[in-house]
């Protein structure tokens, strides 16, 4: 029987949230990201402290325990530059615990843009600069060089795959979205159309979302979900499958699904249940899986897909005119910012590129008070836009541009 692998991939990210920043600040204060209001959702240190306690510390301890007790357990991580910077400043012990995980040799770090940005769609030059920045940070902190790539929010199309192939990555990952796959299953290795070497791994969103979204939902018919039940699902009629790509936010563990749901116990029990359920069942990192399996088919993705929402497109970030207005204004400054050689200015401009800022401006779910509002520190998408544009205006004024926007 061919080897079957679980490819567990966890994504770690926090943006630099803007403080309440008005036109009365623009042109005067440059402390956009420095809210010190206690317990404010725009206080970045408060958020890091909270998420570190609820998720990063207990989950890293859990993962370390799993590595120690099961020699076959492996997984992949992507950690954005913006979260690493904040952890280094406010929770250096968490960075150390990530280093210990990676030093096991069984944890892969995946490449991405340092600023968790949508730069690929606006400036190839800026995009490449951010991927390089991220690579350098990973090398210096963890002593490894990424060989697999993910773009922000698993946004993906033929162009991104083509770029990653030319850049020499072994693998790229995205959503296993049915309209793209057609009758095909995400549980096999693929190759993007128009590429030569790179492999494409597709998220099994049903199995991933059972953990990431539904695990603690008591009105879900499958609740409570045990590791036994979950492994049974992987067995049933999936004997020919190669890989189960379980891709999710790292913060699933402890932050989106609280400890009280039993999420830590669930993941802790998973490796042994998986390996004892049948012969030849193991874990692989993304790059390892790309080496182990040949592609069974090409996947053509002319349109851009992401792992977000029922639409699986970019409309959560770039779905309305405010979002387009804001992002175009930001990238319109690119040449002048880069040419300024002002490293603080460049860094601030890049922090504004983080996709979360545009996500907060999304109007799709606002009226319904949807769960998405949980992720926004603002009371409305309009306030998010206003705040962002005020900061943008200050960036503009630092360039001493006189142009009236």
């Amino acid at each position: 029987m061919e080897t079957q692998a679980i490819c567990l991939y966890l994504h770690v990210h926090q943006p630099y949230r803007l403080r309440h920043y008005t036109i009365f600040d623009a042109g005067i204060h440059q402390d956009y990201f420095s809210d010190t209001t206690p317990n404010a959702l725009t206080n970045n240190r408060f958020i890091i402290d909270k998420v570190a306690d609820k998720s990063y510390r207990p989950m890293n301890a859990t993962l370390q325990h799993m590595l120690n007790t099961n020699p076959n357990f492996k997984f992949s991580l992507s950690i954005s530059g913006t979260v690493l910077e904040q952890l280094q400043e406010w929770a250096p012990d968490v960075v150390e615990s990530f280093k210990r995980l990676v030093s096991s040799g069984r944890v892969e770090i995946v490449a991405e843009t340092y600023h968790h940005s949508l730069a690929f769609f606006y400036s190839k030059k800026e995009f490449e600069a951010q991927v390089k920045l991220h690579k350098e940070l990973i090398q210096s902190l963890f002593g490894v060089t990424p060989t697999a790539f993910r773009n922000t929010e698993l946004s993906y199309n033929n162009d991104i795959a083509y770029w990653a192939d030319k850049a020499g990555y072994k693998a790229i990952i995205t959503e296993g979205w049915d309209p793209v796959l057609g009758w095909r299953s995400p549980n096999y290795m693929y190759r993007p159309s128009y590429t030569e070497n790179i492999k494409l791994l597709l998220k099994n969103y049903k199995l991933s979302d059972d953990i990431a979204f539904r695990f603690g939902n008591q009105s879900w018919p499958e609740w409570p979900l045990s590791a036994d039940k979950y492994i049974n699902w992987l067995g049933a009629s999936m004997d020919n499958a190669q890989i189960f790509n379980l891709f999710m936010d790292y913060e699933t563990f402890g932050e989106h699904q609280w400890e009280s749901t039993g999420i830590f116990d669930f993941i802790k029990a998973l490796p042994d249940k998986w390996q004892t359920s049948r012969d030849n069942r193991t874990f692989m990192t993304i790059s390892e899986a790309a080496d182990a399996y040949d592609a069974v088919d090409y996947v053509d993705t002319p349109q851009t897909i992401t792992w977000a929402d029922t639409e699986r497109d970019l409309t959560a970030w770039l779905g309305n005119t405010m979002q387009h207005d804001a992002i175009l204004a930001l990238y319109s400054l690119e040449d002048k910012i880069i040419n300024s050689n002002d490293s603080k200015l460049i860094a601030d401009w890049r922090k504004l590129q983080t996709s979360d800022h545009f996500y907060y401006m999304c109007t799709k779910w606002f009226t319904d008070g949807d769960v998405h509002a949980y992720f926004s520190p603002y009371t409305s998408p309009y306030e998010a836009f206003t705040n962002f544009m005020n900061a943008w205006r200050d960036i503009q004024s630092r360039l001493e541009l006189n142009g009236d926007y």
Partner: protein, 399 residues
């Protein structure tokens, strides 16, 4: 139903709210006789009976200008007399007494203090239950102070003796509890709705030619429609306007309304040096009112205390997004709008500035608010009222 005004003979949102509410009630099978304190045709109303409250010997009562000002009585012997609003609310009692004796009805539903004494008299005579509907209190009208003690006492008596009190917002319910000591359990919040059917279509040609021309030259228009009175918070709007104009000089503030603060606000805009960007139009109705809503890029309602605030919904109905104070009832039901504390001049300027600078914000705000506006139906309000009618009518019968 006892009310003080109905469109087109209204001075503000009260008449508009009553009209739309009655239309929704009548579609639920409630038959309404609406008693107003003046004589005038209401050809636009066919879903209920509108009755002028005429005391014996009075031929007709004309509104002397605005509803809140004076009334011209013409007696059957052709002599005339002008009376003040206070006198008129006294005389309204006498007229309503006749209806209470003669009329057949199950419920007395009275809107705001001007009708409360008449309503209590009708309750006394008929023994029918009274629902006191609060659209605004004296506390709100005086900008968060106790206001006229005479009016406060009429309100207190009406609310205390009513069988049920309906508040147009949670904000109003809180005021009624805190400022009038009315027990919370007899007050129910029923938000106003929006009535799209009653809006007239806009002409292609806007009445504000100057503003149309300036907009085509890149100017943006910020409007308010309301009485020029302390309750409406316009003083702060002008302070914010100063801040906006320093950064976005191509902005024009349009203030539609009249009131006792007119001279003060005019003087303030001169003192701030922004007179050429502030336009006072006086009280407007009909096309001039609709077009004022429509010409604006943003409608601002900065009220110090606004029990509900129907004007922002009208603005959205005519195509304009809104900024409202958090001290307004409408901010409890409308999500897709900008919200500020009435006292936070800087934040008000911050938000207005961003709307006049970014058409994308204006357009997105409008698009989403219009969707929401369509869902804010009077039907929900009417359903709750019908429930209250049945409840209190059956209690009355049991007694």
């Amino acid at each position: 139903m006892l009310g003080w005004e109905l469109p087109p003979h209204n001075s503000g949102g009260l008449g508009t709210a009553c009209l739309h509410m009655c239309k929704a009630l009548s579609s639920k099978g409630i038959s309404i006789e609406f008693i107003v304190p003046y004589t005038a045709p209401h050809n636009n109303i066919n879903f209920m009976k509108v009755t002028p409250a005429l005391p014996v010997n009075v031929h007709d009562i004309q509104l002397g200008g605005m509803a809140y000002d004076s009334y011209l009585y013409t007696y059957k012997n052709r002599t005339t007399e002008e009376v003040s609003i206070f006198q008129q609310s006294e005389r309204y009692i006498k007229a309503v007494e006749n209806h209470a004796i003669l009329g057949k009805f199950d419920i007395i539903h009275a809107h705001d203090w001007l009708t409360f004494r008449a309503a209590l008299r009708a309750k006394e005579i008929s023994g029918k239950p009274l629902i006191a509907h609060v659209h605004a209190t004296e506390y709100d009208r005086s900008g968060g102070k106790s206001g006229n003690p005479f009016v406060h006492e009429i309100e207190y008596n009406g609310l205390m003796l009513a069988d049920k009190v309906v508040a147009v917002s949670q904000l109003t319910k809180d005021v009624i509890i805190q400022q009038y000591d009315i027990p919370a359990n007899k007050i129910e919040v029923m938000h106003n709705g929006a009535e799209t059917d009653l809006y007239k279509d806009l002409d292609a040609d806007n009445a504000y030619k100057y503003l149309s021309k300036m907009r085509s030259k890149g100017y943006r228009v910020v409007a308010n429609v309301g009485r020029l009175t302390i309750q409406k918070g316009l003083y702060n709007l002008l302070l914010a306007a100063k801040e906006v104009l320093q950064r976005a000089p191509k902005t024009i503030f349009l203030l539609v309304g009249s009131g006792e603060q007119y001279i003060e606000l005019l003087q303030l805009s001169a003192d701030l040096g922004i007179s050429k960007n502030v336009i006072f139009t006086d009280f407007q109705r009909g096309k001039n009112l609709r077009d004022a809503y429509a010409i604006a890029d943003l409608f601002v309602m900065p009220s110090v205390s606004e029990p509900f605030g129907i004007a922002p919904l009208e603005a959205i109905g005519y195509g304009t997004p809104v900024l409202v104070s958090k001290q307004s009832g409408v901010s409890e039901v409308l999500q897709n709008c900008l919200k500020v504390d009435f006292w936070d001049v800087q934040e008000m300027a911050n938000q207005i500035y961003n709307v006049v600078k970014h058409d994308s914000l204006r357009d997105e705000l409008y698009k989403e608010s219009f969707k929401e506006y369509l869902s804010l139906s009077w039907d929900n309000t009417a359903s709750k009222l019908v429930g209250a009618y049945h409840q209190h009518a059956s209690i009355a019968e049991a007694i």
